[in-house]
């Protein structure tokens, strides 16, 4: 572990994300969105955003293990959890939440899984950290913080209480 990331106040970053989200939802006239957190770190961030925004629809959870594009290379993630998404996402406005946006492959997989539950009206993406390094044409609508990290570095959110960011050399 290194760098001064431990000093970052994650809770206040999430507070600011919630403010930006509230503003965007208002601009788009969305009053009852469905929030879905990506296992595991994204779900921790989503739990806080869901509470801060006072959303009424229960928080959804998504585990993208069965939708990953690297199954043939690395096999199944043994820590896979069940996804809990309302059986019908038809017509919903979805807020997808993840902890770290990097290559974009996780988000691609999450979008594919969501669309197997139905056709939402819209999806916005909120991430705690955007560390660059995209391999797919995907961008987040709400970004908590940007980090400029070399590919040799890994950033990881630990939690659920307290939330902390660590970077490691890989």
């Amino acid at each position: 572990m290194e760098t001064g990331l431990t000093s970052v106040d994650i809770e206040s970053v999430i507070e600011e994300m919630a403010n930006q989200l509230a503003l965007q939802l208002k601009q788009k006239n969305i009053d009852s969105p469905l929030m879905i957190g990506v296992h595991t770190g994204g779900l921790w961030v989503a739990e806080r955003l869901h509470a801060k925004l006072g959303l009424t629809k229960p928080l959804g959870e998504i585990d993208i293990s069965f939708y990953r594009d690297d199954f043939t290379r690395i096999g199944l993630n043994p820590q896979v959890k069940p996804s809990q998404i309302p059986a019908n996402v038809e017509g919903e406005h979805i807020i997808l939440v993840d902890d770290v946006l990097y290559t974009g492959r996780t988000i691609r997989a999450a979008l594919n899984e969501i669309f197997d539950y139905g056709r939402p009206d819209s999806v916005v993406l909120a991430v705690l950290v955007d560390r660059g390094g995209r391999e797919l044409p995907l961008q987040a609508d709400i970004v908590g913080m940007k980090l400029d990290l070399s590919p040799q570095k890994q950033v990881k959110l630990s939690g659920p209480v307290p939330l902390a960011l660590e970077t490691n050399r890989i």
């Binding site: 585990d63 293990s65 069965f66 939708y67 990953r68 199954f71 043939t72 290379r73 690395i74 096999g75 199944l76 043994p78 896979v80 959890k81 069940p82 996804s83 809990q84 998404i85 059986a87 019908n88 038809e90 594919n112 899984e113 669309f115 197997d116 539950y117 139905g118």
Partner: protein, 338 residues
């Protein structure tokens, strides 16, 4: 069948079960028997199955994880339900599935079992799901397939039926939450039952308090006690205080006469009725692998009653088969790249 000539000297008689199933990283590569698999592996199968159970909630009841893989259902013996759930499981994983009923296929024209396998491998099959009337058939195939191919045992002779056992374990876990402290009774034709053997191994590995088998002595194998079970000849005393009852089907097609006086008499002694059920715990769970012989193994009102989870077992069977297929093919790929 020609295959017996090739196989007699190798593996049909004494199937070994341990190292063949795991890859060099200890991951499940073939699933042939529950015997000698660790509690961790059995638990992992159930955990992954739990994750797959949400796929049935999706509008598109499919995940792309095995897209581009070819799974061959190789059935040397009929079984509509098992074959259908394997087929459905494979399709929900987006694999391509071929069903081969070998009884009506090339082996009846004289092709050996290994030639059949080689031909299917030449068509780039990734997995064989094997049902065979001879004990050890799936082990034999697993020992001879190409390195990238996985084998799942869908029932071999009187030996093993591990996916049925695991769907039963999964069903028990969903009902009772944990295995510790459970008393489980398995009732009926233990002698001919590959399911019972696989269940007994799994239940003991998962750490239930007690496994009882309740059967007439003519339907018990000679080595029953060495399996780690208590034997009861009387249904009422055997059911006393049990948490889970697993009924077995009376396998009339495997019986060579004289083992049973009559179905009517069997029902009188070993058929599950509401009156006998009252000896078990009030929240007892009743299971049956199907197909049920109503009025032989159990009364219709027990089969359809509030303790019965017979239809949930069928649903759980799809998730368990999805889990086993994904784990096995995943382990194969993972070991390729290492």
């Amino acid at each position: 069948m020609n295959s017996s000539k090739q196989t007699a000297s190798t593996s049909f008689k004494a199937p070994d079960s341990s190292s063949l199933q795991l890859n060099d990283q200890g991951r499940l590569r073939h699933f042939l028997t529950t015997e000698n698999l660790s509690k961790d592996i059995l638990t992992e199968i159930m955990d992954v199955a739990e994750s797959f159970s949400s796929v049935a909630d999706q509008a598109v009841k499919k995940v792309p994880v095995l897209r581009g893989k070819t799974i061959v259902n190789l059935f040397f013996e009929d079984s509509t339900r098992t074959r259908t759930t394997f087929e459905l499981a494979a399709k929900r994983l987006s694999a391509d599935v071929i069903n081969l009923n070998i009884a009506t296929s090339a082996t009846s024209k004289g092709e050996s079992i290994l030639d059949t396998i080689r031909n299917l491998e030449a068509m780039h099959a990734d997995m064989f799901v094997v049902r065979h009337g001879d004990s050890g058939a799936a082990h034999f195939i697993a020992r001879h397939v190409a390195p990238h191919v996985s084998v799942i045992n869908a029932g071999d002779g009187r030996h093993a039926h591990p996916t049925q056992a695991m769907l039963d374990m999964f069903s028990i876990r969903r009902e009772k939450k944990e295995f510790k402290g459970l008393k489980v009774a398995i009732i009926g034709d233990i002698l001919h039952s590959r399911v019972a053997r696989s269940q007994i191994h799994a239940l003991n590995t998962l750490g239930v308090q007690e496994v009882r088998v309740i059967a007439p002595s003519t339907l018990l194998p000679s080595d029953t006690k060495s399996l780690g079970v208590q034997v009861h000849g009387d249904l009422r005393s055997g059911l006393d205080g049990v948490d889970v009852i697993i009924m077995l089907r009376l396998q009339r097609e495997r019986m060579g006469g004289a083992l049973l006086p009559s179905e009517h008499e069997y029902f009188e002694c070993f058929g599950l009725t509401a009156e006998k059920l009252a000896y078990a715990k009030p929240d007892v769970t009743v299971m049956h692998p199907g197909p049920i012989n109503r009025g032989v193994e159990m009364d219709a009102d027990v089969a359809d009653g509030k303790h019965s989870i017979i239809l949930q077992q069928v649903t759980n069977g799809i998730a368990i088969r999805m889990a086993v297929m994904t784990l096995a093919l995943g382990a194969n790929r993972a070991s390729d790249s290492s």
